[in-house]
Amino acid sequence: MVRARTKFIVGGALVLGAAGYLMASAIGETGIYYLTPGELAAKVKGDSTFYNTGVKMGARVVPGTIERQPGGREVSFSVTDGSQIIPVTYHGVIPDTFTDSVDVVVEGRYNRNGTFVATTLLAKCASRYENAPDKYQSTPGYKAAKGPSA
């Protein structure tokens, strides 16, 4: 008679083993590289299979490059990490927080024409929940003003 404790450990190991297997295979199948524009450019230079492979790219939108198509569902812009500028086109829901100079994470493929075709676009603004009061300082006439409790 096998002890219940041993049986439980075998059962538990089976459960955890199955979970581990699922995790490993899911990472293999769905895990994708997260790169900056500079890293992406270096990757494709070293290994051309990185063209048209799904990757995520995190970078900042270059101010003034956003061109929205009418309809609000298509946009093209450029992003940079300071070392490399990559043009991006995106078709889909444009998040409310997407504006000049925000940090974005785009998911999609980098094609051989040098354009990143994005299928998802996440915009995260460092000031998303925090609106620095300092913007008033640049407004003429505001700096000298006194607040209500002063």
């Binding site: 219940a4 404790r5 538990g12 590289y33 569902r73």
Partner: protein, 681 residues
């Protein structure tokens, strides 16, 4: 008041430092005067943190924009309720809020144990004071809400419109109340380890605190999902974002603990495991705060990158080192007092419940930290998203759901075949009926069918338990059904409250399975144009655009689209979605535009309308989503919270104790074993 508040923060830090020092010293040297001094110091810490908080609230409500914090998160025209809730809207304030809750909890825990657990208390007080020192120091030196601007702006910059929502006013404090409550069981675990008093004694003291934590986390997570659903406009409520995962992790290990605690109480097993779970829950709560606040992991929630990240990392490492050392040196004291007797026993079901819950927690943690892990190991960041979490957690979740039904059905120690047959007949039948009925109605999604079959099984289990309990009371006490039902729950809150929680879980899983049938349509509609869509129930809807309107309202410019929704058997209804551009008093846009979704709610499904933009003059670019059973998520959360309240509800009145002693036992007679007596808590 503001100066008083600022000074109080410093005094509180000194008090907590003193409290930590003398409590540990008092416990070590066995000097009760030092122990008493430590406790008084912690009460004083609470008083001064409360003063500091009142000071900040005063500043917020009176719009004192000389404070950077007040100017950053409020404006003069912000409604008072959001000025109040801005307290936890920003980093510095939420750190202070954490201190406030922790010092309050500490004071309550010390007061509740002023005559009990005296050997443990010096170390409990010392541990809590140490945690407070960390949080107060971080607040004072790294995120001080009292830091001033060198000039006074005429108005603050206001609270982000997405945060101006009742859900956002209450979701963060609930999460904090839950996170912080994990500190008390942690402090007791440390005290039990230090003093080597590792029997069920310390567990009794922490069970209610674990429930408090669990309850607030449950409410907080549910509210967060609701807020994301109604406010963010992406059509879902859970995106496996790192910050969401961070709140789920301590909930998972906390839930595991609430189950495994019963095994130690009844059978003296799992002593190491319980200590580990309590410690892990606390560490995960700290990790959650770290992830939320440090920005080390890419998240849409990323708050400003801040300087408190490294402090949290250091605290986390120190906590792990201390507890690892304590556990390692006390392994002998943690030996189990009994052994698992049979695989077919309630212990085994609970053990598997723990394995699965911790397995889920581990996979979520792994997936959340994978970008960091892969970068450290392989040099390049690899991220995993929703597909990873779903692949792993749907099967594990279904296993857990099944165990929810199995656990209550099998006896402790060893179940007999007769017992199994009798107990399982109805629930298994119930589950199969539900599954077969849905299959006959045309449901073909494998996971969904399994979910609903298991849900039917668990629901029948719970129903059977209530029917049996009520029946027993009716026979023994001649009570009417409603009376028997009430007393059944009242006299054994822990057990039947637990069943209510399980029922909430069933409702929740039914809602999750509904996601398999979600349908989305992206379209452009010019005024008067119609679009027909089929919903998940195979009914045809017709949506007709009533045109786009632009107008100004309160503090915002609004672009709105109105659709008329029609379906056979329903009166035509209007749904509206808006794009809002908030402006300040000078008419200058503030923040980015925000989307206001339109939701046509019902128990079966939500029709969810999002306006993406307008092309040309009046052609609305919209997305229509049929979201089946979304309301069941909120209901499931509410039922779970209610069940948690039932379990927690204090029963300690003398009259109540007497009544219970006289006749409140539930005696479950089972032919195959000796009568099992289960006392109320």
């Amino acid at each position: 008041m503001i100066l008083v508040g600022e000074l109080s923060l410093w005094v509180a830090l000194l008090m907590a430092t003193w409290g930590a020092t003398v409590s540990f010293a008092g416990g070590r040297l066995g000097r009760s005067d030092l122990v008493a001094s430590g406790e008084r110091a912690l009460y004083a810490t609470f008083a001064f943190v409360a003063l500091a908080s009142i000071g900040l609230w005063t500043a917020l409500l009176t719009s004192d924009f000389s404070l950077r914090f007040v100017a950053s998160y409020t404006s003069a025209n912000l409604p008072a309720v959001y000025k109040f809730s801005a307290f936890w809207g920003g980093q510095a304030g939420s750190m202070l809020f954490w201190c406030l809750v922790l010092s309050l909890y500490s004071a309550i825990a010390m007061f509740a144990n002023r005559r009990s657990n005296r050997e443990l208390m010096p170390y409990v007080t010392g541990t809590l004071a140490t945690i407070l020192v960390f949080f107060l120091a971080t607040t004072v030196f790294r995120a001080n809400p009292y830091s001033r601007l060198d000039w006074i702006p005429p108005d603050g910059t206001g609270l982000n419109p997405q945060l101006q929502n009742p859900g956002m006013a209450f979701h963060p404090p609930n999460l904090y109340l839950g996170y912080v409550a994990t500190s008390i069981p942690f402090a007791f675990a440390i005290a039990a380890l230090v003093t080597r008093r590792l029997d069920a004694e310390w567990l009794g003291a922490v069970r209610r605190w674990s429930l408090v934590s669990w309850l607030f986390l449950t409410i907080g997570i549910t509210m967060g999902m609701w807020w994301a659903y109604v406010e963010l406009g992406w059509g879902g409520y859970w995106a496996w974002d790192p910050v969401e995962n961070a709140s789920l992790l301590p909930w998972l290990t906390g839930t595991a603990f609430l189950h495994s605690i019963m095994i130690q109480e009844k059978r003296g097993m799992l002593r190491k495991w319980n200590v580990t779970l309590v410690v892990a829950t606390f560490l995960l709560a700290i990790l959650g705060t770290f992830i939320t606040r440090s920005g080390v992991i890419e998240s849409v929630h990323s708050f400003a990158r801040s300087e408190i990240g490294s402090w949290f990392a250091a605290f986390l490492v120190a906590s792990i080192a201390v507890t690892a050392f304590l556990v390692a040196t006390r392994l002998k004291d943690l030996e189990a007092r009994a052994e698992l007797e049979s695989m077919v026993s309630r212990e085994a079901a609970f053990l598997y419940n723990n394995v699965v819950l911790v397995g889920i927690a581990f996979s979520v943690l792994w997936g959340t930290l994978f970008p960091i892990i892969s970068e450290a190991v392989r040099g390049s960041k690899i991220t995993v998203g929703a597909p990873f979490f779903n692949t792993v957690n749907i099967p594990l979740g279904l296993l857990l759901l099944g165990l929810t039904g199995v656990g209550p059905l099998i006896a402790w120690r060893r179940a007999s075949v007769a017992n199994l047959k009798r107990q399982f007949a109805a629930p298994v039948a119930g589950g199969l009926v539900v599954g077969a009925a849905l299959f006959a109605l045309g449901m073909r999604d494998g996971y969904a069918l399994v979910s609903y079959t298991l849900a039917g099984f668990v629901a029948t289990t719970i129903g059977q338990e209530f029917v049996k309990g009520v029946g027993a009371r009716r026979r023994m006490h001649n009570e009417a059904v409603p009376v028997a039902f009430n007393r059944l729950i009242g006299r054994n809150r822990r057990r039947y409250g637990g069943y209510i929680v399980h029922f909430g879980v069933v409702v929740l899983f039914a809602a999750f399975a509904g996601l398999a049938f979600k349908k989305e349509y992206d379209l452009s509609l010019s005024p008067g144009a119609s679009f027909s869509a089929v919903d998940p129930y195979n009914r045809t809807w017709t949506f007709t655009s009533q045109g786009v309107s632009r107008y100004e309202e309160l503090n915002r410019q609004v672009t709105a689209v109105v659709l008329e929704a029609k379906r056979a058997g329903m009166n035509p209804t209007l749904i509206k979605s808006e794009k809002r551009q908030h402006v300040d008093s000078r008419g200058v846009p503030t923040f980015e535009p925000s989307t206001e979704v339109g939701i046509l709610e019902s128990l079966r499904q939500d029709v969810y309308l999002v306006l993406h933009g307008v092309s040309g003059e009046e052609t609305a670019e919209i997305r229509i989503t049929f979201n089946p059973l979304v309301w069941w998520v909120w209901y499931g959360g509410i039922i779970m919270a209610l069940g948690g309240l039932v379990v927690m509800w204090p029963q300690a009145t003398r009259a109540g104790a007497k009544r219970r002693a006289e006749g409140g036992y539930v005696v479950v007679m089972q032919p195959s074993e000796r009568p099992r007596v289960e006392a109320g808590v």
